[in-house]
């Protein structure tokens, strides 16, 4: 027993020595560095103040909330990504271009709306009358129109991504869409979605 006590005492006195101190400092330095690397790793994995929304629908009453949430979040200082896929692509169209399209693609282009103005409502559309009535009601209540919201979203730097795969399937050309639209795939969406605190599918 006495022997162990003596050994411990020796260890302590050694630590006070210069060589021991240097060793301790080097050891601590290394640990701090390890912690710092770990911290940056963890910081990279933390979500940002970002909202990511998949806009799958091409209905006025569904694209509208996507832009309301998008512009609202952007106004609150959050970053926003809107990923338009399938029917949602219709909302991003600035014109219809049938050249270079196959028969089925032409049919699709003719039967889907060109731009936000052409969107119908998901229920009681009655060949576009429903959508017009909804727009009138919104105007009367002084609610911002879809076009105004979309413009605000673009002005506030909302990231708008068109799904490349849906574009290929439906035969939608990049120059049929708004100029500031980015084109991306599932990884582009997921890269933003994994960094988001809010993700929605509309």
């Amino acid at each position: 027993m006495e022997v162990t006590v003596a050994e411990k005492k020796d260890e302590r006195t050694e630590v006070v020595g210069f060589a021991g101190l240097h060793e301790r400092i080097a050891d601590l330095n290394e640990r701090v560095q390890q912690l710092e690397t770990r911290l940056t790793q963890i910081e990279k994995e933390l979500p940002e103040d970002r909202v990511s929304i998949v806009v799958f629908s091409g209905d006025l009453d569904k694209v509208l909330p996507a832009f309301i949430i998008g512009t609202g979040a952007a106004a609150m200082g959050m970053k926003v990504s809107l990923f338009f896929t399938f029917w949602g692509l219709s909302a991003l169209k600035k014109r219809r271009d049938l050249s270079g399209k196959g028969f089925l693609e032409k049919m699709f282009a003719l039967m889907t709306p060109t731009g936000t103005e052409g969107l119908g409502v998901s229920k009681m559309n009655f060949f576009g009358i429903g959508a017009r009535l909804l727009r009138t009601m919104m105007k009367r209540k002084e609610v911002a129109s879809l076009e105004e919201l979309a413009q605000m979203a673009r002005d506030m730097g909302v990231r708008i991504i068109a799904c490349q795969m849906s574009m290929d399937v439906l035969g939608v050309q990049k120059d049929e869409l708004w100029d500031d639209v980015e084109v991306g795939g599932v990884a582009a969406f997921l890269a933003d979605a994994t960094k988001s605190k809010v993700t929605l599918f509309i």
Binding site: T71, G72, A75, G77, M152, M156
Partner: protein, 83 residues
């Protein structure tokens, strides 16, 4: 009751999400420490401004009050730019 403010924004009649969007644009024009007074008629703006203040890092909601002007409720929000 009225709090001191540097600039005023009238968004009476505007509906969600316009009050917050317009206020945000107006706050961007303020200097740090200045206060924006927002007049809105949208009842939802009360909780919207609280939510905005909770999320945003560059503003603080210094106060909220309701006034009645010509029989109409006006929701007043005081937003301070902190960054």
């Amino acid at each position: 009751m009225s709090l001191p403010f540097d600039k005023e924004l009238d968004v009476k009649g505007a509906k969600c999400p316009l009050p917050v969007i317009k206020a945000r644009q107006a706050v961007d024009q303020l200097a740090v420490g200045q206060v924006l007074r927002v007049l809105a008629t949208d009842p939802g703006s009360v909780s919207d401004f609280q939510g905005w203040a909770k999320v945003a890092k560059n503003i603080e909601l210094v106060g909220q009050e309701t006034e009645t002007v010509n029989g109409q409720s006006v929701y007043v929000h005081y937003v301070k730019r902190t960054q």
